[in-house]
Amino acid sequence: MINGVARSEDIAAWFACYQFLAFEAECLDDNRVTDWLGLLTPDITYDMPIMQTQRRTGDPIAPNGWHMKETFGSLESRVARLGTNSAWGEDPPSRTRRLIGNVRGGPWGGAEFDVRSNLLLYLGRGDSVDSAVLGAERRDVLRCTADGLRLARRTVLLSHTTLPVQSLGVFL
C-alpha cells in the first residue's frame, strides 16, 4: 500500500497469503511433494515461460516458449514419478531452500487474490560444494476455498535466460 493507510482486513489477507506461500515452500523444501499437490486447485495452470535477452524497450518473455507448461494432471504425474524407485534425477533429491519475499498484490477482497512474490531458490546436489541459485518473480492467483487458500495459477518469471542448471526437477 503506497500513499495510504493499510486496513486491518487487508493486512489479514496479505498475511494469510504470505503464510500460505511460506507453508508451500516448506512442503517443497521438505520433499513433501504430495502435500504440495494438495495445495493446488484441480484447474491450476503452472507456467514458466522462456526469458530472453532484450533491449530495455523489448519484452523478455518469449512468445509461446516454455520451460514448463503444466496442468494438475501433469504436475500429479511429476509427483508420481518422484515416488517411483527410479527418478534418478531427483533421487537422491536436490537440497533446496526457498526464500520468499516482497509478497505484494491485491486488492485483498473477493474470492481470489493476485499475489506476486520474489523467490530465491538455493539448490545443491550430491556431495559437491557447487550449488545454484535460481531467481524468479512469481505471479500467482490464490483462491479462497472451504479448505483455505489454494494455488489456482502460477506464472514463474525466471531471472535467467539460459538456465544455470542442467534440468529443472524441482518446483518453483
Binding site: 522462456i50 532484450q54 509461446n64 516458449g65 514448463m68 494432471g73 504425474s77 514419478r81 534425477g89 539460459t162
Partner: protein, 467 residues
C-alpha cells in the same frame, strides 16, 4: 592418421594447443585398436583441457553445426543469436530476404554488435564507436565519417559471413572451414533416413523459441544418450511406470540402428508390418503429406516408425516420438532437435527446439508442443535423468584412476544378438534390432579423425561389415 605431422617444435606458444602431449599421443595410438574390440576408453568423454583445445580448434570449426531453422526468422530483418563452437553469430534474414550467418563482431574493434537473443532490425550499431551495419551485413555508416573515417572503403568492411551456410529441409547448418565438403556430402547417407520424417513432413516450423540450459559437464554428455535405446529400460524406467511412454519395452527394441558413415547415428523403432505408426501423428496431420517423394523402403520405414532418434555428428540430435506428460492421457507425437553446444571443457549448453507441422490443426500443434515441453527438454521428465548418467561418464573420463578404463561397447559385436542385416536394401549398415552399440564406435572413430587431422579429415564411409 598422421600423428607425427602435428609435431612442430618451432611453433609459437599460441600454436601449442595443436601439439599432442606424449600422453595424449599414446592414448590416440591405442584408440583404433580398442574400438575394433568394442572398447571405448573413458578418457574420450573426459573434460581434459588439452582434448578440449583440440576439439575447439579442429572439430567445431570443421563440422557442420546447426544454427537455426528458417521458420525462426520468417520476415526480413528477423534475427536470432546463435553459436558455432563458442563463437557468436547472427542468424539473420536480411532486408533482401536472404538468410545469412554473420559473425557478431564489429570490424573496427571486434565489439559485439548485437546483444539480444531475438529481434527484428534494419541494422545494427556497434555500441563502441558506432559503426553501423545493414541487415545484410554491409557497413553503411560510421560517425564523423569525414573526420575520423574519411577514405574508408565501406564495401570492404562489412560483417564477416560464415564461410559456409547450407540448408537441409529448412534447417540451416554452418561450417567455418571453406575446405569442408558440402552439407549434402557431409550428411551423406544419414539424409536418406532423416528424409523419412524431415522430407516427408514438408511444413515443419519451430514453435516458440529454443530452451537453453547449462550442464556442468562436457558437451559429450549430450551425445551418448541420443542414439542409445538400451538405457530407456533403466534410466527412464520411471517414465514407463507413470505411463509417459506407452511403447512397451519389448516393442521398443524392434527396429534398426543404421550406421550411416560420417559418425552419424540413426535409430528407428519399427512397428510390425501390418501396423501404421507414423510416430503417432494423427491421420488428419499425415494425410496432408505425399509419400511420392520417398522410395519404397523409406515409405515403409516412415509408415511403421514409432520413434526416430539419433545424432548428426557431432552435436545435433533429433527425436520424433509420441509421449504424454499426464498419466492416463494418450501419447502425442512431437519432434524436437537439440544442439549440444560446447561452453568450455567443463560446461555444455543444451539447446532444445520443438517443431510442429505448420498445416496441422491448431489444437494438435498445442498438444504436441505441450507433450514435448512436459517430457523432453529443460524441465522434461526424461532429461532430468539423462543428466545423472552423462555427468558420471564425464567424471569417470576425467578421473586419474579411471580415465584409461575401457568401457564396454560390445553389444552387437562380441555380445548380444544384434547383427548386421545382410542385403539391407538401403544405404549404410543396418542392424537387426536396436540394442546394439556399434554406432558409437564409428562416431568415436570419426571424432578422432577430426581431432587428429591437420588438414580437412576424411569423412568416413559406412562400414560394409562391422569392424
Amino acid at each position: 592418421m598422421n600423428l607425427s605431422a602435428t609435431k612442430n617444435p618451432s611453433a609459437p606458444p599460441v600454436m601449442r594447443t595443436r601439439l599432442l602431449s606424449p600422453e595424449m599421443r599414446a592414448r590416440f595410438e591405442r584408440l583404433d585398436v580398442d574400438l575394433k574390440e568394442g572398447l571405448v576408453p573413458a578418457w574420450v568423454f573426459g573434460s581434459d583441457p588439452e582434448l578440449y583445445a583440440l576439439e575447439r580448434e579442429r572439430l567445431f570449426p570443421r563440422v557442420w553445426t546447426f544454427v537455426g531453422h528458417e521458420s525462426e526468422i520468417p520476415s526480413p530483418g528477423d534475427h536470432v543469436l546463435r553459436y558455432v563452437g563458442e563463437d557468436s553469430f547472427l542468424f539473420i534474414r536480411g532486408g533482401d530476404g536472404v538468410i545469412r550467418l554473420l559473425f557478431n563482431a564489429c570490424r573496427h574493434r571486434g565489439a559485439q554488435i548485437c546483444a539480444v537473443e531475438r529481434g527484428n532490425s534494419k541494422g545494427f550499431q556497434c555500441p563502441y564507436h558506432g559503426w553501423t551495419y545493414s541487415s545484410t551485413g554491409e557497413l553503411v555508416a560510421a560517425p564523423t565519417q569525414d573526420e575520423a573515417m574519411g577514405g574508408l572503403d565501406r564495401s570492404q568492411w562489412g560483417l564477416i559471413a560464415a564461410p559456409r551456410l547450407e540448408r537441409y529441409h529448412g534447417f540451416y547448418f554452418a561450417c567455418l572451414d571453406a575446405k569442408a565438403p558440402s552439407l549434402e556430402a557431409y550428411l551423406g547417407h544419414a539424409a536418406y533416413y532423416l528424409d523419412i520424417f524431415f522430407g516427408l513432413f514438408d511444413d515443419l516450423e519451430v514453435v516458440g523459441v529454443p530452451q537453453r540450459y547449462m550442464w556442468p559437464t562436457s558437451w559429450k554428455a549430450g551425445f551418448d544418450g541420443f542414439g542409445d535405446d538400451y538405457h530407456l529400460i533403466t534410466l527412464h524406467r520411471s517414465l514407463f511406470q507413470i505411463g509417459a511412454i506407452t511403447i512397451p519395452y519389448a516393442a521398443n527394441i524392434l527396429g534398426h540402428h543404421v550406421i550411416a558413415g560420417g559418425g552419424h547415428n540413426i535409430t528407428i523403432s519399427i512397428a510390425p508390418s501390418d501396423e501404421t505408426a507414423l510416430w503417432g501423428y494423427p491421420k488428419e496431420v499425415t494425410d496432408r503429406y505425399s509419400f511420392d517423394k520417398l522410395d519404397p523402403l523409406q515409405a515403409d520405414l516412415a509408415r511403421r516408425a514409432r520413434v526416430l532418434v539419433g545424432t548428426i555428428f557431432p552435436n545435433f540430435s533429433y527425436l520424433i516420438i509420441p509421449l504424454t506428460g499426464t498419466k492416463g492421457q494418450p501419447a502425442v507425437a512431437f519432434a524436437q532437435v537439440r544442439l549440444w553446444q560446447p561452453r568450455g571443457e567443463n560446461r555444455m549448453e543444451a539447446w532444445s527446439w520443438t517443431l510442429v507441422p505448420k498445416r496441422a490443426p491448431a489444437s494438435f500443434k498445442e498438444q504436441s508442443h505441450l507433450a514435448a515441453v512436459q517430457t523432453f527438454g529443460s524441465a522434461g521428465v526424461f532429461d532430468q535423468d539423462d543428466g545423472v548418467a552423462g555427468g558420471g561418464m564425464v567424471r569417470t573420463g576425467t578421473s586419474v584412476f579411471g580415465r584409461n578404463m575401457k568401457l564396454n561397447y560390445q553389444a552387437g559385436l562380441r555380445i548380444g544378438t544384434a547383427a548386421a542385416i545382410k542385403d539391407w536394401p538401403g544405404p549404410g549398415l543396418a542392424t537387426t534390432h536396436r540394442y546394439e552399440e556399434n554406432s558409437y564406435r564409428y562416431t568415436v572413430r570419426q571424432w578422432s579423425r577430426f581431432v587428429l587431422a591437420d588438414d580437412y579429415p576424411e569423412i568416413l564411409a559406412p562400414p560394409r561389415v562391422l569392424d
